[in-house]
Symmetry: none
Subunit: 401 residues, 2 copies
């Protein structure tokens, strides 16, 4: 029996409220070995208070040593096994632009490319058009029609776009048409199973029509498709936990990930302040609140240690406005680490604290990588965090008599 | 490969002895956040010695955040995955009164109820009869005969009883007949599969006959049945570990759980003193001894912090008599936490120590929730404790060459 099934079975109704404050890429590394991490450098009196009154630990997003993307990182935080539920590239791209994907859709990531007179790829990225040019080319592409299926074309950035095939009986087990090489023609869309044959034909037809529509383009006169994917068949958080869930995110990708697990996507403005204003406004209408803070990850990816420190301090500053609402459970964590010295996501466990009723405190009085190592939550798989939240919120009954 | 299979493959014969001293509901919480737990408050010089000489940690009974009942809690301690082996309510009730259930039996929990003239439920608990009245009504019920199946009726308490259907070819995939509501008639026993159809018919026949026999009862003139269940199909500890196992428990439920995994149930009297006397007497006849101490849980459920502290000190006092027997491995743990401030089982990890040969000591010199957090066993799933016991007892060979 898997945790979501178990929780569905054991959950008790309650009126308690759970807040997940997710600082993307929160965990870090010191600039020089033996030094302080970004979180250890930051002045975080409010987070330190929460750590002292709560219980801390380090969450392992997927498995030890595995660096997660945003998709698996967040699925785990929401209590889903990130190894069981995989989000295909096409779907992730669609989520990233907050496209309202339906369960019957097949999405693929598209690239504009430059084809020579023989139809061979000269430039896999069509000379990297600007985002504005991308939107113009996508506008042309929107005139493409394929009988038997509805098409949606949405720009992403530069040479990237998303194509969504909508209709009944579609299936996504299809090879990429991008040969990942120049000097060869794009590949046909090859169905890997019988169910996907019709969808592959639609894809081929779309690619052919796209070439026709784009033939006068100097660079972007062809397209390739990758990562055909369907919406994962995943129970909503309402179904699993019986919680009315609100997403207070600023970036489209995280709204998309929250929509995937059935949260209501609220207009949460463009800053932490506005996110918390929204939180205050809708406090009575929901049981679970996902507040996403992007900038700890962004500064980490920029390799800007000092900026990440400042962003952590900004996050710390907002904490009193959240605790003033008296959540029953407040969790502060990240979906993965993004050490600024690495300028990328990493596998390092993520500092996590749980503050609420019936916590067994642990002597941790500061929120940091090193102190969390001594915390009462130990090192745990992130997918158990929702179970812990439900338990501390008095929303889980006993397993077995 | 699951741990029991692995152990069955790797186990080495030996003459070493393992003692599990299980203090039910051992783990706790402070009365006020930041204070001392029951175990931290108790004076436990003997347990502290064991912790200093042994290795400590915190066991997670099922999964992080999951509160176990006694069944899953003990199955995990005995090395079985509590999510894989589920003990149905009917079986657990039968175990709770130490009914000698057989593998072919189907057991259900029965409730006496009050039916009105139209056969609708007026009171789901028949006015909560006394235990003595319960026994009298059960005595009447014992006259019920259902052709084709053997019946056993046993009182539990108040309005609760157990009915056991014994015969070949029975199956327990049957819906509850208790509608969990008043103003409606009890439901028929609906078989969820073909195999259970005959058993459901026996159940319906039993319920009808019960009404006939009880018709003159003022309150308890009807019965409902819930939690139809069969004995779980589980390998015995003798089969898995090659150990001759003795259960030294006082309460019927724990004898029942020990019987379920094939232990010999010894008459261990009514107190810790008598349990240890039995231990001394049968020391040469067994390899594994399960000593169950109920009162750390009972006082926790009563919400009596001070009494739980005293019970822990009582447990501590018995330790020298056990170590005097020179067990090769002595484990002190609980099946779950029962913080007296919560007055219930909880999900919090359980302080655990392992004392014996070849332990890697860890600097822990006191047995408590906080110190165990720093212990060499870390936080671990309880189902691995038997493997650790077997290893330290020199009873497990190498896996792979």
């Amino acid at each position: 029996m898997k945790p979501p099934d178990l929780i569905q079975e054991l959950r008790d109704p309650n009126t308690t409220k759970i807040v997940f404050l997710v600082a993307d890429g929160l965990g870090g590394l010191p600039l020089t070995p033996g030094g302080l991490t970004e979180l250890e450098t930051a002045r975080t009196p409010n987070l330190d208070d929460l750590a002292r009154e709560g219980v801390s630990g380090l969450s392992i997003p997927v498995l030890p040593g595995i660096t997660p993307g945003s998709g698996p990182g967040h699925l785990a935080l929401f209590g889903y096994d990130p190894l069981e539920h995989r989000i295909g590239r096409g779907v992730l791209e669609a989520l990233g632009i907050n496209f309202p994907l339906e369960r019957r859709d097949v999405a693929a990531r598209g690239n504009f490319c430059t084809l020579d007179a023989e139809g061979k790829i000269k430039d896999r990225r069509a000379g990297r058009p600007s985002d504005e040019r991308n939107r113009e080319i996508c506008q042309k592409l929107k005139s493409v029609r394929v009988p038997g299926v509805e098409l949606f074309i949405e720009p992403v950035s530069e040479h990237r776009f998303v194509v969504v095939f909508r209709g009944e009986g579609l299936s996504a087990n299809i090879e990429d048409t991008d040969p990942q090489a120049v000097g060869v023609a794009p590949l046909p869309a090859v169905a890997r199973d019988e169910d996907s044959r019709r969808t592959a034909e639609f894809a081929d037809r779309f690619v052919a029509e796209a070439r026709r529509v784009l033939h006068a383009e100097p660079d972007a006169n062809g397209v390739t498709l990758r990562g055909f994917a369907r919406y994962p068949n995943i129970a909503t958080m309402q179904e699993v936990y019986g919680l009315r869930c609100a997403c207070l995110a600023v970036y489209p990708m995280y709204k998309g990930l929250a929509r995937l697990v059935g949260m209501d996507i609220l207009d949460a403005g463009h800053s932490l302040d506005e996110q918390v204003e929204t939180l205050e406004r809708v406090w009575d209408q929901y049981d679970f609140f996902f507040i996403h803070f992007k900038y700890t990850d962004k500064t980490g990816e920029d390799g800007d240690f000092a900026a990440k420190v400042r962003r952590i301090e900004e996050l710390d500053g907002i904490v009193p406005r959240i605790t003033r609402l008296k959540p029953d459970v407040l969790i502060v964590t990240g979906d993965h680490s993004t050490p600024s010295v690495m300028r990328s996501h990493s596998w390092h466990p993520v500092p996590t604290l749980l503050w609420g009723r019936n916590v067994r405190t642990d002597g941790v009085s500061e929120f940091s990588e090193k102190t969390c190592l001594q915390g009462g939550l130990g090192q745990f798989e992130a997918k158990y965090l929702m179970t812990l939240a439900m338990a501390h919120a008095g929303r889980l009954g006993k397993y077995g008599a």
